[in-house]
Subunit: 400 residues, 3 copies
């Protein structure tokens, strides 16, 4: 039993000194290269219903914020610590002056203007000079989007045709349970580890097929022929698979700036254009969540998009089942809180990831040099963006 | 809904880069400026009943200590790690030689002298040279006070008239449940965030009035006229409020070195001199607790000083109630583990805090330059200190 | 009560500034001096039964590893993060190609060779160049041993006579519940704090005698006469105690490189050579566990070696009992996560510890200078090592 031949020790663990992660691509906080790129876009930070007269904690891009809605119905998003003496506005209350801090009653409107300082002479003679750090918001697609970047570079809000043009029996439904994460609502690893998964079709027959039992349809269980292409707004992945004897299933998935997963349903029930968009929200350097909006025919069915493993939702699995039936969450968080690219050995099947990383790096550099990244527009007449993404059939046999 | 005017972006969160806390005023550990100031005074570290033959863990000014009482009834306070090989004396036992370490039986008396080394030849020939780091103690006011500073600057123990001169039906009662913190017994933020509250009368009608329902009396629900004055031992705050038609309620509160809250009962049931003193004990840089001693008429009523929100004690509130009925604890811990003064925008109502911080800074500098801070005396004939603090009435109408 | 004489303030806590730990001796990770010494030896990392077709997490010397057994019955130990893109192999599955990663199906044999890359053209044309960092294993004594050092210095596996030569009614039994730790299976302090205990016989009558009630036999409750000797492979401790009127109990304990506790049963039920060996496994800088193999007469009795305090196993004690009945775990973990030798004041009874530390330091230096430490052999004809350790009787009265 113990006469294993140990002559060939190349690659022995002793020689393997793990390296550190690359902060330039991983970090999302204020002033970091990727953080500056991300801040040029609008990001969802909650459902429309999350902005109420009860302050709500929001953490995005490493910043702690408070979301509220004033008595005129306008949503507001401010830095959590009151600019007076730092008490968190989480304990504040909304009244006619806006969100009022619990400690000395300073109140702020939805753009952070200080409207009231009840302890100060004349209600605060100098309050016009006071501003609670704030971010502009837009409500659309059932979600609340925030822009956390430089004011003079604030772009128009981007609209997407797949969510603007609905079939007659369809409606839009928003969701905040991180559909597509394959795990809990808040995922404990850097957002890129999930985002790269979007341009990685080869893992589907392995992780979601042979490993954990077919989680999607049989159709998705075979290894596809794949083409990657960098398009203007991101990376497009075309996968071809056989579909009965005479036809080919053509599936197009896209990773679009800034953090969009444009992924047709993997439970291929119909062949059509993509029906939903997921926005990955980097919460901070080591966690993220996903907001989704999609076209549905029946209320409440957006949430059906969540994965089931061994027939159960992720949170229903035992520890033993988690190990036995891994999904995307295990694959991504299993790379660590922040994956170390320098330790990797990429193959041809990683061509999409290579392309995506190069693309993101170019955008990071563009912003660092003072330019604008792709996907931001300052033209209010822009039409909604049309994505090629979807599940399609070709009337030709699959013969690769 | 989404045509909010965003032209005026002054103060947008993108431009707000939060700064770091000031270690000079915040840190309390050995060798720090504030730590050195604090170490010039006696601090309560437990109730008299806490020193027993069972070792008890005490953490104060960032140091881990063990409190015990020897068989002669004397209390002792020593650094937790045995000077032999570092095992914590928490597992020690008290016998005729003092506190004996569980590992090799080295024993120490209440001044840290090594009295026994049973594993050494002759019980330890060199044990006179061994000293377990220790601190002198004094028992008074039902509390145990420790002096953790330079031995040659150890001051007399300060006595306070309001706890020395009792009415005929009064007795003293000590308390260790952090009366005045508005929250749990151990509060998870730097002690200064609570201490500044003492010279901040303006928050009372806001936080303890309109926000969480009147927690004190109606009398305290109105915005007072306030005068701040730096006196020899600290900051004195005089607040005037109307009292029926003909009289004025004059309330004096004081923040006294080193960490004394000299605060008359906010549940103004009678008009008299202050009846209790609270000592804020900085446990370390990011937590504190409060020991109190006061004059009471009925046993057990000192604890009535604890706040109630929505009629409940703090620990009885649900998460929803904590958000809805914030008190001092939420206001102070909500500033973060250590508040960042550089992020603040102070108003006129903060004059007391400005005065207090300047006062503390002067004392820190005095000690750093080799002098003695105010409030320490080396004269054993000093009389107890008389405080002006209390709730008083003036026979003149309130007309400010 | 408060007129304690404080004139003699030598050793007051104010003057005691605790120092930091010595990384050279404490740290066990890759590239550290002690880490490099430890890596020259075989270390147990699990029971033979732990290597199965279900991947198992192992953490040793600060490295996160995965243990498995292939379909041919060979055990394998690899670095946890797949060399493809870093997903942990914990979620992998064993098949005919070895351990296959859940994400893209790369498979590795028990020496880390990449045998399959199903997503790559031709199953991976370049997979021969890919190696998952791995460590060689040996199964012996019911345990799985790993060698984590430089391949060209891999020594022969050392055998020990006390586990090779059995009495006719004896069998070997392995155990992974950290017999000898006096506490939980995974102990939360640096391994040296336990290891030094092996050459510290003086604590036995204190900690395991008078303090917590006699945990071992009455025989062990008296303070012994002790001789320390550095021998080739470590430190030998000879303790003499009286045994009835006419005889002397001679007990020999050894601390042997790299981490062996060669300790006869402290529950002295018979007088014989040592019957078990414990291997301390440093999990990382601040935790360890102990694997044991011993000769037993009845199956399942190896575990009887675990300590009982107040009649209970460690995990059955209440918090109050933990304080009242401390054992080795409390003594060692009570020194902190990593003990600071610079704060110590050693006595003559610590001569064994001084000798052991000097010995370890010499070995650390030898390895750092490019040499081989003692106890490694490259000669496959070496005989099993015979230890002097055991409980013996001398037919002469004890008269020291």
């Amino acid at each position: 039993m113990d006469d294993i031949n140990y002559e060939q020790h190349a690659g022995n663990g002793y020689l393997n000194q793990p390296l550190s992660y690359d902060p330039e691509m991983a970090e999302v906080t204020q002033g970091t290269p990727m953080g500056e790129l991300l801040r040029r876009y609008w990001h969802p930070i909650g459902l429309v219903s999350h902005a109420t007269e009860t302050p709500r904690k929001v953490r995005a891009l490493g910043e702690d914020l408070i979301l509220f809605r004033d008595l005129q119905g306008r949503p507001g998003l401010v830095h959590a610590n009151c600019c007076h003496r730092g008490t968190t506005l989480y304990y504040g209350k909304v009244d006619q002056d806006g969100l009022r801090c619990c400690y000395h009653g300073w109140a702020f409107d939805v753009e952070g203007r200080c409207t009231s300082q009840p302890c100060e002479p004349e209600g605060g003679r100098g309050r016009q000079k006071i501003r609670q750090p704030w971010y502009p918001l837009k409500e659309h697609y059932g979600l609340i989007f925030a822009y956390m970047g430089p004011p003079d570079r604030m772009p128009m809000f981007t609209k997407y045709e797949c969510l603007e043009v609905l079939e007659v029996d369809e409606a839009l439904e928003a969701n905040d349970t991180s559909i597509g994460s394959g795990g809990p609502v808040i995922v404990d690893c850097n957002w890129l580890q999930h985002y790269e998964n979007v341009v990685d079709p080869y893992h589907v027959p392995i992780l979601h097929g042979s490993f954990s039992g077919t989680q999607f349809t049989e159709q998705m269980g075979s290894m596809p022929h794949v083409e990657f292409e960098q398009v203007e707004l991101g990376i497009k992945v075309t996968s071809l698979r056989p579909l009965d004897g005479n036809r080919t299933h053509r599936r197009i998935t896209m990773a679009v700036l800034p953090t969009l997963r444009v992924v047709p349903s993997p439970r291929v029930s119909e062949f059509a254009r993509v029906s939903s968009i997921g926005w990955v929200l980097p919460i901070d350097n080591t966690s993220f969540r996903i907001y989704t909006c999609g076209r549905i025919r029946e209320e409440g069915t957006m949430a059906d998009g969540r994965s089931r493993l061994n027939g159960k939702l992720w949170e229903e699995l035992t520890a033993e089942e988690h190990q036995k039936y891994p999904g995307d969450y295990e694959a991504h968080s299993g790379q660590g809180a922040i994956a170390v690219h320098a330790n990797e050995h990429l193959g041809q099947s990683d061509a999409g990831i290579v392309m995506l990383r190069r693309f993101l790096k170019n955008q990071v550099d563009t912003v660092a040099a003072g330019g604008n990244p792709v996907g931001v527009s300052f033209n209010k007449d822009d039409l909604p963006i049309i994505f090629e993404a979807g599940n399609y059939t070709l009337d030709e046999p699959y013969d690769r």
